[in-house]
């Protein structure tokens, strides 16, 4: 379906529209109209509607774009034999307000302004996080004063959810990490006849570093995300507002039970992860290094001192609190809309992992200074 065109020597073109100017044909007709505008450079265009029955939104868009192009190029545009069904649309086209402004192009001042805005936003977010920590501390102190009113049932619920239900995945991942590390170490140590030191390396690495960090990462992915999504959804559906209006302290009501639950299950899961990793090492020891489980455990026992285990558990406690804190904080930052909950949940996991690594670096320095 093509438009008929007729040209006069004085630069006037008449475009005869086909019987339907609709979604189906508008794209092709538009390409041909553009071609006419570019090649012929007409002085005047007449659009003839004779024989045109159906014009829909795509047709209107085409006519409107044509009108804009003609205005821009100083071409006189006329519509002829307009059927009554199109009059409404043509009135609309002719009363068109100014076209929407173009997307602004790059400029240095805008780039600086945008940098300033995002820096300010991040600073405010950090300030909010600090304030949130302060509120949590106050809520914790209030709870100590009136522990009877605290919702301990919620703590048990989240202990089950974040702790007990995470045990299988923590076991599986830690077991595999222990297995892989022991195997890699065995390949090297076997060359020096130092097979038994696989136990030393594995138990030290797990208790001091890998156990707490991996457990915290799992907690961030499972529980931190779940907390952010739960609180975020409550925020979107105005449940948080309802609680505030009813006089509840949101931090005490929603955040503290989650933080306490994670603070309790973080060290417990870390111990579970350490044991699972060492079990993985024993499997490698028995299968490939001819080390008995008893000698592997004895060697690990000899290698470890109390500070190794305690430093790992202290770390795991701090990591778990950070994960819970950032999960709840991100959830409370959700605004209207389902996409906001998704964004905050992602942010909870990413920020959680970032804070774990950051805190781990700080702990490494502190433990080094105090010779732990």
């Amino acid at each position: 379906m093509h438009p008929d065109t007729a040209r006069t020597p004085d630069g006037e073109i008449t475009i005869g529209l086909p019987d339907s100017l609709n979604y189906e044909h508008a794209g092709r007709i538009w390409e041909e109209v553009i071609d006419i505008l570019e090649k012929d450079q007409p002085r005047k265009i007449k659009v003839d509607f004779r024989g045109t029955g159906k014009v829909d939104s795509a047709g209107i868009a085409l006519l409107r774009l044509l009108r804009r192009r003609c205005l821009k190029k100083g071409i006189d545009l006329q519509f002829e034999s307009v059927p009554p069904s199109c009059e409404y649309f043509l009135r609309y086209i002719e009363s068109e307000p100014l076209p929407p402004s173009e997307r602004p192009s790059f400029s240095l001042s805008r780039a600086i302004s945008s940098l300033g805005t995002s820096s300010l936003r991040e600073t405010l977010a950090f300030r909010d996080l600090v304030r949130f920590q302060g509120e949590l501390l106050i809520a914790a102190l209030k709870t100590v004063r009136s522990a009877r009113h605290f919702r301990w049932k919620e703590v048990y619920y989240y202990l089950q959810l974040a702790g007990a239900e995470a045990m299988p995945i923590v076991f599986l991942l830690s077991f595999l990490i222990g297995l892989v590390m022991a195997f890699q170490a065995a390949v090297q140590l076997r060359q020096f006849g130092a097979n038994i030191y696989v136990a030393d390396m594995l138990s030290l690495a797990l208790t001091r570093e890998l156990g707490p960090v991996f457990t915290a990462v799992i907690l961030a992915g499972r529980s931190g995300a779940a907390f952010a999504a739960e609180i975020g959804t409550m925020k979107v559906s105005e449940e948080v507002d309802a609680l505030v209006v009813m006089g509840f302290d949101i931090t005490q009501f929603l955040v503290l039970p989650k933080v306490i639950a994670l603070a309790l299950c973080g060290p417990l899961l870390t111990m579970w992860a350490n044991a699972s990793g060492i079990f993985g090492g024993i499997v490698v020891g028995v299968l490939t290094l001819d080390i008995t489980p008893a000698s592997f455990l004895q060697q690990s026992y000899n290698a470890l001192v109390m500070t190794d285990i305690l430093s790992g558990l202290i770390k795991s406690l701090v990591f778990a609190v950070l994960v819970a804190l950032i999960g709840c904080f991100r959830g409370l930052q959700a605004s209207k809309g389902a996409d906001s909950v998704g964004r905050q949940t992602t942010s909870a996991v990413v920020s959680g992992i970032f804070l774990i690594i950051l805190a781990d670096a700080v702990f490494t320095i502190i433990f080094h200074v105090f010779d732990w």
């Binding site: 609709n22 979604y23 538009w30 795509a58 868009a61 809309g337």
Partner: protein
């Protein structure tokens, strides 16, 4: 619709409902909460397969097993909540169905979207996210999206719910304007009496206990003459006890 039965799980909501909607008319479906208005609409737009009965669109039977795409391209639906995609701007929301169902160049699509947004009075809000707008604006944006492909029939589920009286009147006027200028057939679910009186050419009254249509006619006729106490109670804003 011919002898339609609709329900959820083991529960039948509507039994043996038959209804014809003529081209160009505005039919309002009304009734008390829970009487099956939204269920009827879900049945009509193919979201709820009928247990029994048949639905015809422009003389052709709508068979879910055959696929509903051909019918869905000719219908627009304005959901009660608006159902705009929260992560997309208004322009992106409106352009979604056009991009999906046409192969128009981007320039034309952009202009159609602008046209639709202007039609509902949101021409300068294309770059806004739904969460940045008021409830009434979200409803109008959802209407623009429902109108994106120039539907021949528009289904509106409680278009004025949650709106203030002035915005509600504006929404009614917008629907009337779309009906009179573009000739769009409309099926509107509502229980707002002023809206019913203003926009409907014909009313269908549903009743939850009867599980079907108990009255049909022009709003003024139903209000003045109908003998069914349930219809009278509805129009006079009374309980059945008086």
């Amino acid at each position: 619709m011919e002898n339609l039965w609709l329900g959820y799980g083991g529960r039948v909501i509507l039994e043996d409902v038959s209804l014809i909607v003529h081209a160009g008319e505005i039919v309002t479906i009304l009734g008390t909460s829970g009487c099956g208005k939204s269920t009827l609409m879900r049945g009509m737009i193919g979201l709820l397969p009928p247990r029994k009965g048949r639905i015809f669109f422009q003389g052709r039977e709508v068979d879910p097993e055959e696929g509903l795409d051909w019918a869905r391209q000719k219908m627009g639906v304005l959901f009660q909540s608006g159902a705009l995609i929260g992560s997309l701007t208004l322009s992106e929301n409106v352009s979604l169905p056009i991009e999906e169902h046409s192969d128009l160049p981007e320039e034309l699509i952009r202009d159609i979207v602008q046209f639709k947004l202007e039609l509902v009075g949101l021409g300068s809000f294309g770059s806004y996210l739904p969460s940045e707008l008021s409830g009434g604006m979200r409803k109008r944006a959802a209407l623009a999206r429902a109108m994106a492909l120039d539907p021949e029939i528009l289904f509106c589920d409680e278009p004025s719910s949650g709106l203030d009286p002035i915005t509600s009147v504006e929404m009614d006027e917008l629907l009337l304007e779309l009906n009179s200028s573009l000739g769009i057939t409309m099926v509107v679910i509502t229980h707002e009496l002023p809206s019913i009186e203003k926009i409907s050419h014909r009313c269908i009254v549903l009743d939850g206990q009867a599980r079907g249509i108990i009255a049909t006619g022009k709003p003024a006729e139903l209000k003045a003459d109908h003998r069914d106490p349930r219809v009278q109670a509805f129009f006079r804003r009374q309980t059945l006890d008086g």
